[in-house]
């Protein structure tokens, strides 16, 4: 059999590579058009005073300098970090708890799963508007139920009192799509925990808490990492859809997260350039969160039993 010449083999290799690039090109073109270009454009716009009408003048880093001196931005940064951290932890704990309940072998498990997941499929904005009415001070359902249960007139202003707004907001986050999705992923992760390990623990007389701490958590740690990363991204980017209808950033800026501030600056104050600068900061915060989580994963995540 005649051997192929090196030139023919090289040509074949080049052709194979071109075919591979050809198959990758749709994704690559989409990435360039819908991800890379907008990000680069946002970075360049953050160096200008672009208004919503399109007028624009180069400012250099003035947007960032003004941002650092703005009490509104500094408050928003503080609120964003606090909100993201707490929301990530609260939703993860609740989702894990619900997943463990669903993982128990009991009758009508399917129906329980359905009802636990139904709130998650309601659009976040609709959910927020519904809870806005439920948490009303004079005519809200919450206060009505508390009045009946306590026998005293209850008029807690859930969303306008700085002492209760965080509780109210984190309560609503338990019903969002992100929490429901976390619950399903945890449930899937729990199914992968080998039952032999639990049997071995029972033989050794381990308590339920010890089994959870020594078997469930370590094996579930990669899933927990994934959910925490997704939870942090959801809190940073998706909090707008929840907080804008629910609190509009109030009371007194207590829930004025960065995503909300970006919307207000760009679309209500027409400062698109400044909004882009804020978006760059939000992007950096998301990157830092993900980096910290991945750094922690080296110590706390077990990929092999």
């Amino acid at each position: 059999m005649a051997k192929s010449s090196p030139q023919t083999a090289a040509q074949r290799r080049r052709r194979n590579n071109l075919v591979a690039y050809g198959f990758m090109s749709p994704w690559f073109i989409g990435f360039l058009c819908f991800s890379a270009f907008p990000i680069v454009y946002m970075l360049t716009m953050s160096l200008t005073n672009r208004k919503l009408t399109g007028l624009s003048k180069f400012l250099g880093f003035k947007n960032y300098v003004n941002m650092a001196a703005s009490p509104t931005f500094l408050n928003s940064l503080k609120v964003t970090l606090y909100f993201t951290l707490v929301m990530m932890i609260v939703t993860a704990i609740w989702a894990l708890f619900m997943a463990m309940l669903l993982n128990r072998k009991q009758r009508l498990n399917g129906i329980f799963q359905f009802f636990y997941f139904v709130p998650a499929v309601i659009p976040t904005v609709a959910l927020a508007f519904a809870f806005r009415m439920i948490m009303g001070a004079d005519a809200g359902v919450f206060n009505y139920l508390l009045t009946i249960l306590s026998g005293k007139s209850v008029n807690i202003n859930w969303l306008y009192d700085v002492n209760t707004v965080y509780f109210a907001v984190f309560f609503v986050t338990l019903f969002t799509y992100n929490t429901g999705q976390m619950m399903m992923i945890f449930r899937s992760g729990l199914n992968d925990v080998p039952t032999e390990l639990y049997e071995a623990c029972e033989i050794d007389g381990a308590s339920a808490l010890r089994k959870f701490r020594s078997v469930t958590l370590p094996i579930l740690s990669p899933v927990i990492l994934f959910n925490m990363v997704m939870g942090s991204i959801s809190a940073l980017n998706g909090s707008f859809a929840l907080l804008y209808p629910l609190t509009e950033g109030g009371p007194n800026g207590a829930t004025n997260v960065l995503s909300l501030l970006i919307y207000k600056e760009a679309f209500l104050n027409y400062k698109v350039g400044y909004g882009c600068a804020l978006s760059v900061v939000l992007f950096l915060i998301a990157a830092v969160f993900a980096s910290v989580l991945f750094a922690l994963s080296k110590r706390y995540v077990y990929y092999e039993i």
Partner: protein, 410 residues
Amino acid sequence: MSRKLIALLLSVLMIAAMAVPVAMAEAQPTVSLTVWNEPNEDPAMNMYLQAEKATGVKVNVTVIPETEYSSKLNQMVASKSDADIMIVWECDLKNFVEANGILKLDDYLAKSSIDQKDFIDAVANLSSGLGATYGLPWCAATEILYYNQDMFDAAGIAYPTNDWTYADFQAAAQKLTQKNADGTTKVYGCTLPNLQTWWAGVGAAGDQVYDPSNGQLVIGDGATKFVTDCAQMVKDGVMPQPSSDTADLFSSGMAAMSWQGSWQIGTYGGNLPFNWDIAVLPKDARQYNTLHTGFYTISSTCKNPDAAWKVIEYLMGPDGQAINSKSSGNPSALKAIAAKGDWKVAAATSIENWDAITKSLECGVFGYTCLPAGVTGNAVNLFQSATLGQIAPKDAVSQAMQYAAETIGY
């Protein structure tokens, strides 16, 4: 041969059938018009439909939700989207002029019967700062006091007049408040000011609110005083706390008075289960309320500005303004047309003091509506926080001014 002839004839007929509507469409000019309200369902009260009949220009109305209206129009100007007539808010007019987004109307006005000298003073002042006329006001809505006559009768208090002072208002609000046995409020003396009427109180207390020379928010001692008064009234249970409750306390009989826009008259009509009337907002350091309007403008991307002007000229004429007044309850910004009284909502049979509208227009100014919505919204949030005791009124006013200074003139 005959089959070929029949096929040929059918083809010609088909092409002619397709061409006729195209030719007709080209013969009838068409303009688009953007607005935030749905046109009236009654054809006789639909001013755009009537404009079509009167001018022969087809008007395609595009309704953009009010919450997104300003930002959508700004984006249309930025992207030079095809648009013809845009009804532009006060806060956007100057920005659109700077961005060359709208055309000057002076040449059209010179040949028109619209009497610019007949506009209310506030409109003339707004336009003069732009160097030319770029928009014509579609109406002149104002802010007034609504009051429940039955509650005033029960409390034995004389009805508010157009000369009522702020002290009269405070005293009446105290007397009209009804409490439950446990000390909670059953009926409030007055609702809390809303997004619009906070500024009526601030302006009446003596602050300028809006400085047209530099476009800045100007508030200080007047705002501090008004916010302090409201905070005290909330503490005493005379006004409700700001909350996420969406109920209209006045129309549901849970508040004796309310400061609201004049356009609410059309909403209330004859639907309220009690007798009610209106009055001018009470006078404090001065008589003050904010005028609200939208300006008919022609987009710089309009392909047929003459047709667009024809439609605007009709809408600003006696017929167009009469229909707008009857359907919206808002007076015309042209004094001669407003004097005819078409804006008096027929269904609101309870109202006797229609003079409250004309007197409110006389002392009305374009104030906070000329400022970015983010600035005024932020200020109102701070005022509300002050009424809940979360921040001192003076600090709320100071922070509002600081945020405005960061934002305006960007």
